[in-house]
Each structure stands twice: as structure tokens, then as C-alpha cells.
């Protein structure tokens, strides 16, 4: 029966909606938004990523130096890799009603890397330091987004020989919203830990794979500028 209840329903008047578990909100003061952050998976020795390696989302606003060196640009993560401005917290005055959580891998990484990350990755999303609100293998956190396409499977001419990989079907309409919203204010802390408990082998010793996690839903932010 629960699945038949709409997460967002009609409000009492125009310009208002009812969010199940939260209450009535005004459309003009909230948006469909997301908070996202990127970590950079790379081998710890040779092509091996050592078992026990842990990556933390939403905690670090800086790129590792090895990424800066390889990709150029500034130390600070750019707008395409995060929209966090305060480690582990929303900016002052912001509120987020999380209705969707997903993890994105780049579509053009090697099959070896896609297999390893999606097979062995385990994720925990935590509130206020220790409260685990969601956990499981990485494939349980389907992205719903990403490049779709047909790959030229028999080509042998270098870059034309592409594969296209995603964490799930890149169709956000095919991904239900959470039935239990997660309400985050600027007073709460949050983080997610991606762990690889076993040694895994990546495609090259210098490969860097940006993996992005997002918390999407209803976002309330003071007007900027």
C-alpha cells in the first residue's frame, strides 16, 4: 500500500505542496536540488587499490594533489565535482529534504575499472557522525543519470572503441523516490564512506576515476547575490 502513496502531493492552495513525512512547503521558497561531491579512486600501489581503502564524500573541499597535478586547475574542487561549501554540513540557512541518493561513475572508464568499483564498493551514508541512514553495495545506490548510448563494439581504431558504463539505467524516472525522506538542516552533519575491503586491480597505475555521490530532493537556500 505504501508504494501507492505519493511522496509529494497537492497542497492546500496554489503554490503549496505536501511532502509526506515533512508537511506543507511553499514552491517559491524551495527547489528541486541536489548536494553532490566527488572522490577520486586511484591505485595505492602499482595497479592495486589496497583492501581497506576508504573514501569520504562531503568532507573534503580540496582535490588530492595527485589529481591537481594530473588534471590541472586549482586545488579546490570545481563546480562540476562538488557544490559543497562547508565540509560535512549545509551552508547556514539551508535545508534539504533528501528523496533520492545515488552514485555516479563516469561513462567512459574502462570495463576493468567499472567492474571493480561496482562489484567491491560498499557505501554507508551517516548523519551526525554515527547514525547510518542508508548502506549497502555500490550498485544499491543506482545513479539514474549518465550518458546513454550504443557502443561501437567491433571497432579497433583507438578511441572509437568505446564502452559505456553506468551505475544502473540512466533513466531517473525509473528510480523511485525514497518513501522515508531524510531531513537535513544546517545544524546536522553528514558524510558517506565508500570502502573497498579487498584488494582490487585497476586498469592502470596512473588511472584516476572520479566517483560522484549525490543527495537529491527538495532544497531550500537563501537567495545568493
Amino acid at each position: 500500500m505504501l508504494g501507492y502513496l505519493p511522496v509529494i502531493a497537492q497542497g492546500r492552495e496554489p503554490g503549496e505542496v505536501y511532502v509526506r513525512g515533512v508537511g506543507f512547503i511553499r514552491v517559491e521558497t524551495w527547489d528541486d536540488g541536489m548536494i553532490f561531491d566527488t572522490v577520486y579512486i586511484r591505485p595505492t600501489s602499482g595497479t592495486t587499490l589496497a583492501g581497506g581503502t576508504r573514501y569520504i564524500f562531503f568532507q573534503d573541499l580540496l582535490r588530492p594533489q595527485v589529481v591537481v597535478s594530473a588534471w590541472g586547475g586549482e586545488n579546490l574542487k570545481p563546480d562540476s565535482e562538488t557544490n559543497m561549501t562547508t565540509p560535512g554540513q549545509l551552508p547556514s540557512g539551508w535545508e534539504l529534504i533528501v528523496l533520492d541518493i545515488g552514485v555516479h561513475i563516469p561513462a567512459d572508464i574502462s570495463r576493468t575499472d567499472a567492474n571493480a568499483i561496482l562489484k567491491y564498493g560498499y557505501l554507508e551514508f551517516k548523519l551526525d557522525g554515527s547514525s547510518v541512514r542508508m548502506s549497502g553495495p555500490l550498485t544499491r545506490f543506482a545513479s539514474g543519470y549518465g550518458i546513454w548510448g550504443t557502443a561501437n563494439v567491433a571497432s579497433t581504431s583507438g578511441s572509437v572503441n568505446v564502452g559505456i558504463y553506468q551505475n544502473g539505467l540512466p533513466s531517473i524516472a525509473g528510480k523511485p523516490l525514497l518513501s522515508l525522506p531524510i531531513y537535513i538542516t544546517d545544524k546536522r552533519t553528514f558524510r558517506a564512506e565508500l570502502v573497498f575491503e579487498e584488494d582490487i586491480t585497476l586498469s592502470a597505475s596512473d588511472v584516476i576515476i572520479p566517483v560522484t555521490m549525490y543527495l537529491a530532493g527538495l532544497l531550500k537556500a537563501p537567495v545568493q547575490g
Binding site: 562540476s80 561513462a107 567491433a154
Partner: protein, 209 residues
């Protein structure tokens, strides 16, 4: 001019399904079918072959000299006088013929930020999180050796594969709006590449005389 109610909200809310000519949209209210259309506003930006980290491109603010396949804007950064729009969906389309390696760089190395007014951010997300559900679909020759045999798109090219924004965004008469595309990493494309951004929703226009 932007009157949206054919009857009172309370009346529509309670009788929405039986009031001819009126549709009640949650979060918006009643829309009179004679006054509102379901349509798109779109703009195309052509990316250069060399893009540096931090470089920004803008949709909807530069329409000079563009053809209808590129944009249907008639005024830079604004809807025409008297128009109003509720945006219920927004996203990017890669145009037919886009090289797959170029697509990967464009989509995986940038973010899109939808803004109104001076600097009100409505949605900031990586470009891969902006599907619109449009675009070319097809098959390819499996023994092909050229990029022409590969088709790529931001998400599955089916409108039903994309969900609406959880909350609509209102662009009122004369409100500035734009979508910024920011590259976090440099990109080197094989050719200049046009990409098209859509705002999809409900539009109220003055009756033409």
C-alpha cells in the same frame, strides 16, 4: 494578462477533475487550457574545440544570429513581454552526430547551473544529471570503424525516462534567466560541438491580435 484562474482555487481543488477547460497542477494551481500551452524554450551553444578548466558558457543570454534549430528565444535572457512560464523539466540534448569522445568530455567534466534574477540558483548539478529525454536513437554497424557508428545521449532519449522537477520553477514576466555551463576540467573536442538546453513546461502567452 497572466491570470491563471478560470475559477477559484478552492473550487478547482475540489472539483478539478470535473471543471472543463481547467487542469489543476499540484504546486502551481489551476491552469486554463485556453490560456496555457505545454511547450519548450530552448537555446543552443556551440562549444569550441579547446575548453579550459573554469571556462563558462551560457544558455539563453546570447541569441544573436541564431536560427530556429538553435533557439526560439526572441529576447536575450527573458521571455517576451507578457509571457510567463512554469518550468517543470529542464535538461540538455546532445545533437545528432556528436562524437562520443567529445560527449564524454562535455558531460563528465562540467556542471550546469539554472539561475533566475540576479543570482538565484534553482538547480546546480553535474551535466550528467540534466537529461531531457530527447535526442536521436538508433542502431549501429557492429563492424564499424568510425565514430559515426556510435550514438550517445544524456540519459535515455525517452521523455518518459526523465522525471519532472520535484517542484516547478516560475519564470515571471521580464524575469532574467540563464543556464551556466561550467567546466571543472579542460576538454579538447574533435570539432566545434553544438549542444541544446531545454526548459519544458507550461507557458502563458498574450493572445495574438
Amino acid at each position: 494578462m497572466n491570470e491563471v484562474r478560470a475559477v477559484s482555487p478552492r473550487e478547482v481543488r475540489t472539483t478539478a477533475s470535473v471543471v472543463p477547460g481547467v487542469v489543476y497542477i499540484p504546486g502551481i494551481g489551476p491552469l486554463a487550457l485556453e490560456q496555457w500551452v505545454e511547450d519548450v524554450i530552448y537555446d543552443t551553444v556551440t562549444l569550441p574545440t579547446s575548453i579550459s578548466a573554469g571556462q563558462t558558457f551560457e544558455f539563453f543570454t546570447n541569441i544573436s544570429g541564431k536560427s530556429k534549430w538553435e533557439t526560439n528565444m526572441t529576447e536575450a535572457g527573458k521571455l517576451p513581454e507578457g509571457w510567463m512560464m512554469w518550468v517543470v523539466r529542464a535538461g540538455l540534448e546532445l545533437l545528432p552526430g556528436t562524437d562520443p569522445d567529445d560527449a564524454f568530455q562535455i558531460v563528465e567534466r562540467s556542471a550546469l547551473i539554472f539561475k533566475t534574477g540576479v543570482n538565484k540558483v534553482h538547480r546546480h548539478a553535474p551535466t550528467w544529471a540534466w537529461p531531457i529525454g530527447f535526442g536521436m536513437w538508433g542502431d549501429h554497424a557492429v563492424d564499424g570503424t568510425t565514430a559515426d557508428n556510435t550514438i550517445v545521449q544524456v540519459g535515455v532519449p525517452s521523455p518518459s525516462a526523465v522525471r519532472n522537477l520535484l517542484l516547478p520553477v516560475r519564470i515571471s514576466n521580464r524575469l532574467n534567466f540563464r543556464v551556466e555551463m561550467v567546466f571543472g576540467r579542460s576538454a579538447t573536442l574533435s570539432a566545434e560541438t553544438p549542444i541544446r538546453f531545454y526548459l519544458y513546461g507550461f507557458i502563458s502567452k498574450p493572445v495574438s491580435t
